[in-house]
């Protein structure tokens, strides 16, 4: 595990909020390289309160010299605590409703519970077949609660060969800078063949509940008084592999204060 402190420096001008810049942070350990990208849109936000945003988290896994990828078993993405998730009054969807189902069927059955989308790329390894790459769409649904935690059900649907994996993300609140944690594990039924190489998930929607507009994700740009914006720790991703290896990478983003 890399240490928390580095040649570290940077700006004290940032005080927790969210923003975007299209940069990825890479981490390398031995032959394995992982990246984490993400941010929010829009990144012009009010200084206080919160405004509706879409949060994007994405990552890649690759090896140097074309070596065989280890299997990614767990992803934990921790996002700055200034982001807020609100699902009050938002319909939920059960796994049994969207599995088994095609992307279109899942969309129809749980249309009111959709909270995001994205893409997942896998290397499929099946016995007595050559490995091949499967590029799949991801649909994220507001799930029920489990042990008091919110769930996000991500259907990863492949058209060829047809089939789906459901990634169940647990949403947890932690202490510290990265207070919003979403984590998922590869389902056991996919462990024999699915080797994830990249993922992207965009979360965000607005909806009406009892006459009021709610946003599934909202954020503010909490820059110090007089500053036009802030640079802040956006999030960190931790990847755990079947080999026991674990790698963490963090990203910093910026936001601008709107309406002043």
């Amino acid at each position: 595990m890399p240490r928390a402190l580095k040649l570290g420096l940077l700006t004290v001008l940032a005080l927790g909020a969210l923003g975007t810049l299209a940069q990825a942070e890479l981490t390398r350990e031995g032959d394995l390289i992982v990246s984490f990208q993400g941010g929010i849109a829009p990144n012009h936000l009010p200084r206080t309160g919160g405004a509706p945003v879409t949060v994007r988290v994405a990552g890649n896994i690759k090896t140097t010299n074309g070596l065989r990828l280890p299997q990614l078993r767990k992803i934990a993405v921790a996002i700055n605590r200034a982001g807020r998730l609100d699902d009050k009054g938002l319909p939920t969807c059960k796994i049994s409703t969207i599995q088994p189902a095609t992307e279109e069927v899942a969309k129809k059955r749980c249309a009111d519970a959709i909270v995001g989308d994205g893409h997942v790329t896998l290397v499929v390894r099946l016995p007595s077949q050559a490995d091949y790459i499967s590029r799949n769409n991801l649909l994220a649904f507001n799930g029920p609660r489990k042990n008091g935690n919110k769930l996000i059900l991500a259907q990863v649907y492949s058209k060829n060969p047809p089939g789906a994996i459901i990634l169940t993300f647990t949403v947890k609140k932690n202490k510290g800078t990265y207070g919003n944690v979403i984590e998922t594990s590869l389902p056991s039924y996919a462990e024999n063949w699915a080797y994830l190489t990249s993922f992207e998930m965009n979360l965000g929607r607005t909806y009406k509940y009892r006459g009021e507009t709610h946003s599934y994700v909202s954020a503010a740009c909490a820059a110090p008084a007089g500053f036009p914006g802030a640079v802040f720790p956006f999030g960190k991703a931790t990847y755990e592999f079947g080999t026991g290896q674990s790698m963490t990478t963090k990203i910093t983003r910026s936001c601008r204060v709107s309406g002043e």
Partner: protein, 156 residues
């Protein structure tokens, strides 16, 4: 003839010394990581209280942290430049040192902007500093640095 013999002996001696001075990538990492560690530890002290001062609007006071960080980083850069580099990585490391120099320059410029009360400039420079940190880290990804990797979230 004795002179030639002596020259030959010097050449024989010098050549092995020259190759011994060139480090492998792993040796280079082992030499520079302690240098960076010292900088990391110094910065922990340097930036203590900076966030609170900026938040409280004490910008002039806040600026001093950045000037001190620039001085500390310049010292670190000089030490890093003194470490022999693996020949194959010279271009990469030279680029990295360039980014570290920019890092130091950004500190000074942010410090000046804060001292002048120019919050817009300080904010813009901090965004550029963050980009520069990422570029620096990506340049030396192959080294698998720990302390020599800039962790911009540490003080953000």
């Amino acid at each position: 003839m004795p002179v030639l013999g002596a020259l030959a002996a010097i050449v024989v001696l010098v050549v092995p010394l020259a190759s011994a001075a060139e480090l492998t990538r792993d040796e280079y990492v082992a030499r520079v990581e302690p240098i960076c560690k010292t900088n990391v530890e110094a910065n922990e002290k340097i930036f203590k209280g900076a966030k609170e001062e900026v938040k409280a609007g004490e910008l002039k006071k806040g600026s001093t942290h950045f000037f001190r960080a620039a001085t500390a980083l310049n010292k670190t850069i000089k030490q890093l430049q003194g470490v022999p580099q693996p020949g194959a990585d010279a271009a990469k490391l030279s680029k990295w040192i360039g980014y570290l120099k920019s890092e130091s320059s950004f500190f000074t410029r942010i410090g000046k902007a804060l001292a002048a009360g120019d919050k817009y400039k300080a904010q813009n420079l901090s965004v550029k500093l963050n980009r520069n940190s990422n570029l620096a880290n990506n340049t030396v990804l192959v080294f698998g640095f720990d302390y020599c990797k800039i962790d911009s979230s540490r003080f953000a």
